[in-house]
């Protein structure tokens, strides 16, 4: 079955334009979601990680809890918000890529935030004190924290991307798996599985993993170029 799927994967990649558009759509949707999750989660995580304040403990618990947000529930809530009868219905975003981005964003943020917070929390305070002493502004001090915790920030992004690109429940609900419009790799896999076509399902899975692997390799290389250790 595996050999069959690999050759099916190769065949799909070579012959099926639809597969390529699904792959690109997956990357686009999940990439956008993770990028936005990073833009929200990393700065916020750095702030929370750098400071000690009242209510920080519970806040961190809430963030960690967010990691256990079931995609179906997230999908449901986003659905209810974007539904024509919901508060944001007038935007007409349901069954669109934007809706999928929103749902994936909700899923990615807690993971990115949680890992960032604990990564930045474990940056030695001397690093920040030293930066301040040399005249770092608040932002410049935060950049030191980012630089010190960079490996974990990378893991945060990788884990966030992993969570959303592999997720199916939420995008299925708010995207609708509409062929040519909102179908992404996981919903396509799901559809094939439902139809009992395991080989193409596996083939799509293999393609997804290959892309993830290549992206990881690239990231690791980028990280090593700017940095050592």
């Amino acid at each position: 079955m595996l050999r069959e799927s690999v050759s099916e994967a190769v065949r799909l990649l070579l012959t099926d334009a639809e597969v390529w558009s699904i792959i690109l759509r997956s990357l686009l949707v999940s990439g956008t979601a993770v990028l936005m999750a990073g833009l929200v989660g990393i700065p916020l995580g750095v702030v929370i990680g750098m400071h000690r304040f009242r209510g920080r403990g519970p806040l961190v618990s809430v963030i960690n809890t967010g990691m256990a947000l079931p995609p179906v529930v997230v999908g449901l809530v986003v659905f209810m918000l974007l539904s024509r009868s919901g508060p944001l219905g007038s935007l007409g975003l349901l069954y669109s890529k934007q809706a999928m981005v929103v749902a994936q964003l909700v899923l990615a943020v807690p993971l990115v935030l949680g890992i960032t917070v604990s990564g930045v929390s474990s940056v030695p305070r001397e690093a920040l004190t030293q930066a301040r002493s040399l005249g770092a502004s608040w932002l410049q001090t935060a950049l030191v924290a980012v630089s010190e915790a960079r490996v974990l920030l990378l893991v945060a992004i990788v884990a966030g991307m992993g969570r959303v690109i592999a997720e199916v429940g939420a995008v299925m609900m708010v995207g609708g798996n509409i062929t040519g419009e909102t179908q992404v790799m996981t919903t396509a896999i799901m559809e094939e599985v439902r139809k009992g076509n395991f080989a193409p399902a596996l083939a799509l899975g293999i393609i997804l993993l290959t892309i993830a692997f290549a992206a990881n390799g690239l990231m690791a290389r980028l990280e090593q170029r700017t940095i050592d250790t």
Binding site: S85, R194, G196
Partner: protein, 262 residues
């Protein structure tokens, strides 16, 4: 951007369909034919459970429903969510199970008797348990047989037809029985080795599909004209012929029998 992603210029019509219709591939035949006839309209299909489909209609997130749960549909219309039920096609349910048919379902006189034989022997039976049309039909048959299926041999999975069939295939040493709609079963048959249609033809196994347009009174944003155009096309000769032709080349027979206007 990817051109296939871009919405066409035309109106976008949201059809909420049951997975059974969608997964059989019927829409792959219907949509191009409709598009050819009405290039102004873009139909997108959302394959969900019957319950969810009705809910989507209620929340105005679908314009047309294509479902097969007559009682629930009627409730939907009565509640003012839908305009009317319009019959489009039917097929039938079949009792499927392991080829060796230990319960002897094949020789039963009625669906109820077939179910009774399964129950009597405690042979495995997998129920969809998802309030779908199929599930409701199954429950009606148990009722008519005067049986209350019990734990142990009777398993409720709350999933779609495809998943239910697969679970039936994998249950126990040989496989279990289940009630399936013919279309889905035939379309999945090659992936279900050792399973066969054991009982068919009882009137109780009749499976009517209807189209329901969402009521613009309830959902002002719905595109009434588009919905009407689509349903009318389904009822038209062209539409009905497309349904009748679907599956013949692949399975040697139609999966759905058009019956609009009957």
């Amino acid at each position: 951007g990817c051109s296939t992603d871009d919405n066409g210029a035309g109106a976008r019509l949201l059809v909420a369909s049951t997975t059974s219709t969608y997964d059989s591939g019927l829409f792959d035949a219907l949509l191009p034919a409709f598009k050819a006839a009405h290039p102004d309209y873009d139909v997108v299909v959302n394959a969900v459970g019957t319950g969810e489909a009705l809910k989507l209609g209620e929340s105005c997130d679908a314009d047309v429903l294509l479902v097969h749960a007559p009682a629930a549909e009627q409730e939907f219309v009565d509640a003012g969510f839908g305009v009317e039920r319009r019959r489009i096609m039917y097929n039938d349910f079949v009792i499927v199970g392991p080829e060796n048919d230990a319960a002897g379902v094949a020789s039963a006189d009625s669906a109820a008797e077939a179910f009774a034989r399964i129950a009597a022997g405690g042979f495995g039976f997998v129920s969809r348990g998802d309030d779908s049309g199929t599930n409701k039909a199954e429950l009606r048959i148990w009722e008519s047989a005067g049986l209350e299926p019990s734990d142990g041999w009777y398993r409720t999975v709350g999933q779609g037809m495809g998943a239910t069939l697969r679970i039936a295939l994998e249950t126990g040493a040989e496989g279990a029985y289940t009630l399936a709609d013919r279309g889905t079963f035939l379309s999945m048959r090659e992936n279900l080795p050792g399973m066969a249609i054991l009982f068919e033809g009882d009137p109780a196994l009749y499976n009517q599909y209807s189209a329901v347009a969402v009521d613009p009174g309830h959902c002002p944003e719905t595109d009434v004209a588009a919905a009407e155009t689509f349903i009318e096309w389904l009822e038209s000769d062209a539409g009905q012929q497309t349904i009748a032709d679907f599956g013949v080349d692949r399975y040697g027979r139609s999966l759905f029998v058009p019956n609009a206007g009957d």
